[in-house]
Amino acid sequence: MTDHRQDRSALPKPSGPYPPTEEMLAEPVPEEVRQAQAERLRKVWATPKGIRYWTAVNNSEVGKWYCLTALVFMLLAGVMALLIRAQLAFPESELISADRFNQLFTMHGSAMMFLFAVPMFEAISILLLPGMLGARDMPFPRLSAFGYWCFLIGGVFVIGSIFFDAAPRAGWFMYPPLATEDEGPGSDIWLLGLSFIEVASIAAAVELIVGTLKCRPPGMRVNIMPLYAWYVMVVGGMILFAFPPLIAGDFLFELERSFDWPFFDPERGGDPMLWQHLFWIFGHPEVYIIFLPSIAIAAMIIPTVARRPIVGYSWIVLSAVGTGFLSFGLWVHHMFTTGLPSISLGFFSAASEAVVIPTGVQIFAFLATLMVGRVKMTLPMLWIAGALAIFTMGGLTGVMLALAPFDFQAHDTYFVVAHLHYTLFGGMVFPVIAGVYYFFPFIQKKQLSERLGRWAFWLIFCGFNLTFLPMHLTGLWGMPRRIYTYPTGLGWDGLNLISTVGAFIIATGFAVFVWDLVRPKRRQPQIERNPWEAGTLEWTHDVPEEAWGIRSIPHVTSRYPLWDQPEMQARIDAGRYYLPDAVEGRRETLVTSVIDAEPIQVQRVTGPAWITQAAAGFTGGAFIFPTFHWYPPAIVCAVLAVCCIIYWLWTSTARVPEAPSKDAGLGLTLPTYASGHASVGWWAMWITMLGDATAFASLVFGFFFYWTSQADFPPEGAMHAEAGLVGLAGVGLALSWALTLGARELNRRWAVGAARACLAVAPFLAAGGVAALLLSVWELAPETHVYPAVLWALAIWITVHAGAGVIMQLYCLAGSLFGKLTPVYDADIWNVSLYWHFQVLAALVTCAVMGLAPGVL
């Protein structure tokens, strides 16, 4: 759509020979050149030492911290599970109080989901993906670091609450009214702490999607990229559509908790079911969000142990994409007993059964690969085998539960507990541990113990079945979930005792595994470079470790380059391929085109900094202080967080480069700057805004949901938003958008003065529009009924977004004044106008809903 205008850009185009010929690649690199290049590269990518180590933003460091933090949270949540099981070992036990028990099971579920499963996927991907793609690093290293520090702060805050007897206690799905009316800060800790972490998750998703799309090595077309990358792309997309509804739900929920706006209170027109919908639109895809990347690990391990390419590559892509879509059609199967029309239940039952097809396809593709290969039963493969066995069991009970009449019987019993643990252990925990054993040589340049690994496997595998297999029976015999104790004589006693014993055996297995992971390995001999004889790029890593990611970025022509391109390893090491050097002393990685991975740009990436921690800390304050209703410090923190982020963007992103293009190796000259959709920043903005638009759509969905569920929405004689002011707001915001767009075009045509004028006027129009919007609802009392409350919520949403939009306009204005934004180097204003496209759409939809709905409904 905008291509012709992009082409008028004065930025240079890639030039030089591509793809490289065999003769070019065969030409040796002189030894002294190679050494000098390696030395410069080593210096640029060096990990900071001493206290400054914590400023590192390298994917290898951040990924490790991320994984370890998620592991610690998992162990804590596991200890909670042990306490739960200890309490349930005997009937009428009084080991812990009912209140404590409620906190424990709520935190166990919340922590396992939000502090372990999803962050673990992101942690592993940040750690492994650049290696698999032969990239130096992710496109936005500081964003990963920011995400990590947010996760750490939020996680410690949420999980720490249990030590102060203040943890949430209404179940990990926080159903209102139980959770809305709960005394104490528990529910707020859950809502704000986890919203904060979700923001970090979305940041990581953006990073991972852009990394997969734009940072593949030259030649790695979409049909030959590692399956793990396909899964990351699908899961990243799912996060963008699944998490925002929960964030919108949290927003409404917190407004109800803090200001008594009755979104979920039926007495004032609200509806608790809206929360269930928003929660499960997130909650069900979530299960697949953690399942798919874990099974992706299996897709990397299986070809290696079978010593042949995976069978049915396209079929696995089909199942990843297919599962990604179908998993969104399942959310109501968590709500089968809420009294929805039977025909609606039918749709969701059907979709739940349909998702079995793609899920089954990938399992069969794995089995086929193993059958036709020459399998070496390595330790990682043992864990994968265990995973397939356990996951299949969980899948079978899933098919049972997807049938609405069966679900009516088994609903909220231990049968469900058994089912979900089978799918999560088989679908996530086992494959991830397999991945730890498999990738440990890549991550730490050491091997884990074969003997300890087998002990851990059998302890966890047997303990797991001992714990959860009997729960199918306890459930079918009627034992409800979430009860803190039970009377004797109902046939549950023996089964519960067995489950408790099993839980402690699992814990022993984990102790062995963790010991293996953390025991000192200094005296262990240096490992081989590619100990499993795998075929994918991450195994070209340097042993002993180098922080540069990859010595030079290769030209890839097959799915298993190490098997099919035998000279590749030596050429990478020699610096024969792309970007073998860091002449300007800048960290760089190669950016390629989305589908065919043709090199298009040398991307400068950010280096170590404290500013990311500062930004994360203040963002944390902005989320955490409101938990205790301390609003002034929260506002101060929010302002400081914005300042930190602006400083960080200003000093290190989209800087005018010292030369418009540079030699990328093998005779190829690439631009050092890109704007518009050639740039990674534009893609990041586009992807973020898709997620943001989903959250907004969820709010609008809420409005129409109340209309269907409540006979009196809007109530008789209700006050409406002032239509004239709503119209004015729409006009103001639309004009602000038009001026932003105009500024971009004028700037591109060298009319810099006019562009600056546009950027100077646009914020006033946005502010005016927002003022009109707020005035239009000013007289409405949001505590009285859900109708004024939802109008207020929409107005607040638009106000906050317009605020961000104004900051962006002023940022561009300042950029233009101080020479950061020029007619040639104009990435910032492209990204800002993209933001405003979404913003103007949201504003106009809001105005339509507010202004027109009273007349239409």
Binding site: M220, R221, S314, G322, F325, P341, S342, T557, S558, T708
Partner: protein
């Protein structure tokens, strides 16, 4: 000029292809949302469910036809008959082109089944109860 045009065409093909593999599932998703939304509103407002059912069944047939059309296009793009290549595992433009056809074709099959599954309750279940 001709070089620029070539670049534009390639970019257009890039975008079309990536979109194309999700066309089948997107049709499923739209079909699903419309079925669920329409029935939910009908039941909540006590409107005539019979009309909605008939309308949605016709719509289902339309969705299936659309998926078959997508599937046919992607079958031709996969071009198995002429190339005889099931795997497309090399980094050639042609392999990539065929691979995207193959993936889109398989996704069309899944989407077809998904639409059939979701339409079954419309045929088999009475109404709102």
């Amino acid at each position: 000029m001709s070089e620029r045009k070539e670049q534009l065409e390639e970019f257009a093909e890039e975008r079309a292809s990536l979109l194309k593999i999700t066309t089948g599932p997107l049709i499923w998703a739209i079909h699903f949302v419309i079925c669920y939304g329409l029935v939910a509103v009908n039941c909540a407002k006590g409107w005539d469910i019979g009309m909605a059912r008939t309308g949605l069944l016709v719509f289902s047939v339309g969705a299936l036809v659309a998926i078959v059309w997508v599937g046919w296009g992607s079958w031709r793009q996969w071009n198995l008959h002429e190339t005889g290549d099931y795997f497309n595992s090399w980094g050639r433009a042609e392999d990539r082109h065929h691979f995207l056809g193959h993936a889109a074709f398989l996704l069309a099959i899944i989407s077809f089944l998904g639409v059939v599954f979701v339409s079954l309750p419309l045929v088999m279940l009475g109404g709102c109860s």
